[in-house]
Symmetry: C4
Subunit: 238 residues, 4 copies
C-alpha cells in the first residue's frame, strides 16, 4: 500500500534520471540486483527490494513489482534534500504504473542516519528462521563470533577497518509491524542503540542491510545470510 | 491420462490463438512460467503446470510435457462459454502431439468459481511436507499468522485490500485422489467452505494457487512457499 | 578407470555419428542433460552421467569429464549387436582424449534387459541419504505409496499404464562395489527380482534410472528425487 | 587487508599476461570458476576464490571483489621463482584498483609444497558445518569411507591412482586465525602431517582444495562438498 499523500512530480517525469547506458547506473543496477536476489530466494512474491543513493539522489524499486522482471523504467527517484515531510514525499521521477514502496522511509533512514549508499531488504528464509529461534529465548539481539564470515563487515559507522574473527557481530532484532513504514521508528532506535550495526533483523519478516556502496551492501547481505543459515540449521551447534 | 471423450477442434487448429510476438501473451507466458517453476523445483517430471484465462479464453499446458521445454505450440486453448459437459470438453486449439492435462477441471474451477485470471499447480516439496506434518495431527487446514509473507495475499474473493500481518492465512487441505480430475469436487467444496482462500493444498501431492492476474497468482504462489518452508523446516518453532 | 582391453574403432573415428544440427540427436542431448544434472547437483565432480540408445546404437558420456562442460565430440558410440565380450568392448566412435565410463555395462543392462532408450545415473544427495537411512534398518528396498510423484512411473516393463496413487513404488537397493562395473551383476539381479522397477538405488553411491525414451528416463529421475527428498528430510513423517 | 610491503610491478603492468582469446587461459578461467562458485554458494560476499599455476606463473583473484563479477583485468600474476620474501611479494601484473588476496600464501603453499596446478578456497556452508560438528567432539580430522564420492580423489601426492571405495578419505581441520595469511603455517603443518591430502578444512571458515590441474581441483572440490553435506545433514547416520 502506498502513502496516499505521496506527491508525484508535477512538472514532468524526468525520465532522463533513469536512462543510462552505464550498467553501473542505479536505475540499471537495482533491477540487476533484484534479479540476483530473486534467484537467491531473497525476494519472493513482491517482497523485498533495494535502493541506491547517489549523493542527494535516491533510486527506489516500486511496490508490488515482480522482482526478477523489474526494468529501469520502474524506478522512482527522489532528492533527499527535498524531503520535508515523510507524509508528503516529493518524487523527481515516478513510474506511471506503480506505487512507492513502503520500504522507502526505512531505506532513507539508512541513507540519512548512516550515510549509506545502498540499502537492501530481503525476506531471506534464514533471517526469518533466526528471528523465530531468538524469539523462543525472548532475545532481540543476534550475536555471533568466531566465524569467518563476520570479517566482511566494517567495524561500524565512521570507523576504520573490519570486524576481526574474534569480534562479535551484533544484529538487533526489531518486532514487525502491520505496516512496513511503521518499522521506521524502531529501526532508527535500533540504529541508535547499536550505532555500529550494518543490519537490522525484523522478526518474522526479514532483514535490512546497508553499506557505503552497492558493493558493500550486497556483499554484507551475502555474508549475513551464511551465519544465519548456520544458526538456523544447527542451533544446537553454536 | 486424457479424458477419452475430449473433442479436438473439428474445423482446423486455430494456431493463430497461440502465435504472438507479445511476451505477455498467455501462449508465451505459460512456457516462461513453467521454466521458472522447473528451476524452483516446483514442477518435476511432468507434474505441475499453469493456466491463464483471458476473458472467455483459457490457455492450458498439456499433459506429460517436460515443463522446462514447453513451447507455445504445445498450448491448448478453449472457450469457457463453449464448455457444456466436463466429459465432452471442446477445445478451440489442440497441440498435435499431446493430451489435455488432468488439471484442466481444477484450473477451470478457479476461473469460473473465483473469476481467476491465472491458476498455478505445483508439486512444491514444502507444500507436500506441510500436508504430511498436518496429517500427523489429523488436520485439514494450514493456518499461519504473524509472518510478513501473508501480507501478499488479498483478503479474499471480491474483497478489497490484503491480509494484515496479524490476520490468519488459512489454506484448506484436501485429500488426494487416484485421478487428478477427481479432485475437482473436493477442491470446489474447499472453495465453498473457505471462500476467501487463494489456494488449496492437496495432501501428499502439492498446491493449487490462483489470482486475478498472472502477476497475482505467481507472486502468491511464491509467497505461499515461504511460510510452508518455515513450517516444514521448523515445526517446533511455530 | 577404463577396461584395458577396450578396442578403439580400428577403421577411423566415425565422427559423423556424433555430428548433427538436430538438438534432439543423442550426441547433443547427452551434454544438455548433463548440464542440467550438474545444475541440479546430481552429477558432481565427474560422477554420474547419461546414456541414450537409438535402435542398435548406444551413445555414452566418457569417464572423468566435467559434466557441465561436456561436448558432442566427447561422446562414445557403440553398436549393441557388435558387443560379444564385455571385456572386449567394441566402439564405433571414441573421443580422442577420454576413457569409456565404468557405467557402460550398467547402462547396457538397462538397454538389453529392459529395452530402455535412455539410462541416467546420478549421485543425487537424496538418493544417497535414503540408502543410508534404509541401512539403519538393514533394508535393501525403498517403498513408498500414497504420494503423487509415483504416478509418473510406468507400471513396469512391457506393461500398460502408470502406477496409481495407492500403488507402491518399490526401488531395490544394491550394495556398492569398489569398481562401478562390478555393480553389473547385482543390478541385473535386482532387475530380475523386481522386473517392474525403472530404477535401482546403489547404497552410499546414487541411483540408476531408465526409461523407454529420454523423456521418460529424465522425468522419472526427477520424480524419484522428490520422494527421496521427502524420506530423507522427514524420516519420522512417513 | 593487503600486505603493506607488497611491491607492484615497477616496469609496467604486463597486461598481456591476462589477455587471451583462449577460454582456458587462467585469466579467463578464474572468473568463470568464481561465477560458478558464486552460484553454488561457495563464495559469498567477497570470501573465497581460486588460483591457477601455469609452470612458474601464478594467477590470482584479487581481494574484496564480488566473485560473480570478476573480470580477467582483475587478475594478479606473479612468478613463483621471483618470490624471495613472503613479506615482499613481487607481482608481474597487478590490477589497478584492488589489493592482493590474503589467500595468496595459502595458494602458494599448494603450488610449491604439492606442485598443484590449481587451488580453490570456498566458504562452503557444509564445510563450515562439518568443522562445527567435529569441534563438538574435539576432533581436527574429518574421516569418511564407504561413500562413492571419495573415489574421485587421488591416492595422494606423487602416488598413482585414486582412493578406493573402502579407503578412508582424511581431511585435516586447522583452527582459524584472525588474519587469513596466518593460516599458512598450520596449513603447511597439516600438509606435512597428512601428505596425501588434497584439502584442508579451516574451522568455522571453509576449505582449501587443490589438484594437479583446474579439472582435478574443481572436481575434487565438488566431490568434497557432497560427503560434507552428508555428514552435516545426517550426523546421526554415519
Amino acid at each position: 500500500m502506498s502513502n496516499q499523500e505521496d506527491q508525484p512530480d508535477p512538472t514532468g517525469n524526468n525520465d532522463h534520471l533513469i536512462k543510462s547506458a552505464d550498467s553501473q547506473h542505479p536505475a540499471n543496477l537495482i533491477p540487476e540486483l533484484c534479479r540476483k536476489f530473486w534467484t537467491l530466494g531473497w525476494v519472493t512474491g513482491t517482497g523485498g527490494g533495494a535502493s541506491i543513493r547517489n549523493d542527494d539522489l535516491v533510486y527506489l524499486a516500486p511496490s508490488g513489482v515482480q522482482k526478477e522482471l523489474m526494468k529501469p523504467e520502474d524506478i522512482y527517484v527522489l532528492a533527499l534534500s527535498q524531503q520535508v515531510d515523510p507524509k508528503q514525499r516529493i518524487y523527481l521521477r515516478s513510474p506511471p504504473a506503480f506505487k512507492p514502496s513502503q520500504c522507502t522511509p526505512l531505506f532513507i533512514a539508512a541513507f540519512t542516519k548512516r550515510n549509506a549508499g545502498c540499502c537492501i531488504h530481503t525476506h531471506s528464509q534464514w533471517a526469518v528462521l533466526v528471528t523465530l529461534l531468538l524469539e523462543t529465548v525472548q532475545s532481540d539481539l543476534f550475536e555471533i563470533n568466531n566465524i569467518e564470515q563476520i570479517k566482511g563487515f566494517g567495524k561500524g559507522f565512521q570507523k576504520q577497518g573490519n570486524l576481526g574473527y574474534h569480534d562479535t557481530l551484533k544484529i538487533p532484532v526489531i518486532e514487525n509491524t502491520p505496516h512496513e513504514e511503521d518499522l521506521t521508528e524502531s529501526l532508527e532506535e535500533a540504529m541508535n542503540k547499536y550505532p555500529d550495526t550494518y543490519a537490522v533483523l525484523v522478526r518474522r519478516h526479514g532483514i535490512y542491510v546497508w553499506g557505503e556502496t552497492v558493493h558493500k551492501a550486497k556483499t554484507q547481505a551475502e555474508r549475513f545470510d551464511r551465519p544465519l543459515f548456520m544458526e538456523g540449521n544447527s542451533a544446537d551447534v553454536f
